[in-house]
């Protein structure tokens, strides 16, 4: 709490994003003396350029779609277009409300917050604003930034990253989205709702390629219905400017033209020129390497969040930050089971999962030991009311626990909480089936899927 040059903090944290601030909050809660160093804004990518603003855009898109389709529900309303300045105001209001809350929280926990660009100066210190901040332990949490490809220069106007897409002052008439992962399909979805003509280019054979193939296929079907175009299985080759936009050429010579090109091929760690190498921190392709307790090879240095090669998710950052703080405060900690971390893609329809894919389960347990079951939301009353389509797919070890839950459908991301308990607590289908779920909710579909997997389907065929 003291902040003169002679203070030695228990914990000096470099980077105030999801991973860094979670470590700070939990550390302070446990009585540690914490310094949190952030060069930009507390909250990092997630709050300012990631999770929150994208979800605000997607919700504005949902409002737009519902206004367009209102007559299907008996509501007379005319959709007249998007007021992008007002969308940004809505989005920025959401961010600033949460930002204030987070600042209040950090202040109330008595974390020493230092604004400035820091640099690791020894295994136990960070230099910032010409001062040396000493700590018994240092946590690296400098996060990630958008990546590009060799020869593909992000100009921020026609060739853009998610950072630019989030503040674009217009709805593009047409857009090419390079990358069909989470960030790519979320922007594709929001833009389509806003009226953009969207084409996704994905080099792998599927959209959201790390999901269970069934989810990818369902999303592709839904996007096709929405008129979102995509080209799968061929990699990007080059991009060039046209008179009023961009032309993209793929490895097979196919070309696409649009007003803007969003590069959403992934994010790379922020670790260059920060003193990490100099202090002997082991790295691989820019990622800081850690063990399952988030320890680097340097005993006084830990690292969390997008900077380390685990899932790039805000709540993974939270979990890793909390784990480090608890470990350093002397609590017993349990390594994170990354398969047990819930994943949600907030496009329309949503994709959500926890546990392993069917393919992965077969690798782990043997093909003959794995069973799977699909429950179609067509049989789910609430989903019918919402006019959404999709499925819940369960992957089970024969006669054993549910090891994968994979869902597609509007709002299905909210079901991942129950799925998360089922996976992490290794529940048997019959144990879930025994508990009759609330009618008529989308949650009921989770119950029905488990009833069916337990051999006693209620609202579905045997």
């Amino acid at each position: 709490m003291a902040n003169d040059a002679s203070t030695v903090y228990d914990l000096v944290i470099l980077g105030g994003g999801s991973g860094g601030y979670a470590a700070a909050l939990r550390g302070a809660q446990l009585g540690l003396d914490v310094a949190l160093i952030e060069k930009n804004k507390l909250g990092g990518t997630c709050l300012h350029n990631g999770c929150i603003p994208t979800k605000a855009l997607l919700h504005a898109g949902e409002i737009a779609d519902q206004a367009r389709e209102s007559e299907q529900f008996g509501v007379k309303a005319t959709f007249e277009g998007i007021d992008i300045a007002a969308v940004h105001k809505y989005k920025d209001d959401v961010i600033s409300g949460l930002y204030k809350g987070l600042q209040g929280l950090v202040a109330s926990r008595k974390v020493t917050y230092i604004e400035g660009e820091g640099r690791l100066s020894s295994p136990t210190s960070v230099d910032v604003n010409g001062q040396r901040i000493q700590g018994r332990h240092v946590v690296l949490a400098t996060g990630s930034v958008p990546r590009s490809l060799p020869g593909l220069t992000i100009d921020g106007n026609r060739i853009i990253s998610s950072d630019h897409a989030l503040t674009l002052d217009r709805v593009p008439k047409s857009a090419i989205v390079l990358g069909g992962g989470v960030i790519g399909v979320e922007f594709a979805s929001a833009w389509k709702s806003f009226g953009t003509d969207v084409t996704i280019v994905e080099g792998l054979p599927h959209l959201v390629p790390v999901e269970d193939e069934n989810s990818s296929k369902l999303l592709e079907r839904a996007f096709r219905k929405r008129g979102i175009k995509f080209n799968l299985g061929t990699f990007f080759q080059s991009a060039e400017y046209t008179a009023d936009g961009v032309k993209v050429t793929l490895a097979d010579g196919k070309t696409f033209e649009a007003e803007v090109l969003l590069v959403a091929i992934g994010r790379g760690p922020v670790s260059q020129n920060l003193g990490y190498e100099e202090q002997g921190v082991a790295m691989d392709r820019g990622y800081v390497l850690v063990d399952e307790y988030m320890r680097t090879n340097v005993p006084t240095i830990s690292a969390v969040g997008d900077l380390v090669p685990t899932l790039q998710l805000a709540h993974v950052g939270f979990a890793e930050g909390i784990l480090v703080a608890e470990r350093l405060a002397g609590l017993k900690v349990v390594p994170i089971d990354y398969d047990g971390v819930p994943r949600v893609t907030y496009c329309h329809p949503e994709v959500a999962s926890v546990g392993v894919t069917e393919a992965k389960a077969k690798e782990l347990y043997g093909a003959d030991k794995v069973v799977s079951l699909k429950y179609n939301l067509a049989g789910n009353g609430k989903s019918k009311i919402l006019k959404t389509a999709g499925e819940i797919k369960l992957v089970q070890v024969r006669d054993g626990a549910v090891v994968g839950v994979h869902m597609v459908g509007d709002r299905m991301g909210e079901q991942v909480g129950e799925a998360q308990l089922i996976y992490n607590w290794e529940a048997l289908p019959a144990e879930v089936a025994q508990l009759i779920h609330a009618h008529p909710t989308q949650n009921e579909a989770m119950g029905e899927a488990h009833l069916a997997l337990a051999g006693k389907p209620l609202h579905s065929h045997d």
Partner: protein, 55 residues
């Protein structure tokens, strides 16, 4: 006598099984004291504790 569950799996609610796993306790070796022969969290903790000296 507690009823034997189907498939030979010891009866305990999922979070309790998880606890047993974390503490390295084999549920089959735990004496259940819950209703219907269910192994409780306390049973697991008792099994995990060092054996008490007989009086």
């Amino acid at each position: 006598v507690p009823e034997q569950p189907a498939a030979g799996r010891p009866l305990a609610k999922p979070p309790v099984r998880k606890l047993a796993k974390e503490l390295g306790i084999d549920l089959a070796t735990v004496v259940p004291t819950g209703p219907n022969g269910v192994v409780t969290r306390e049973d697991i903790r008792a099994a995990a504790a060092p054996p008490a000296r007989l009086p």
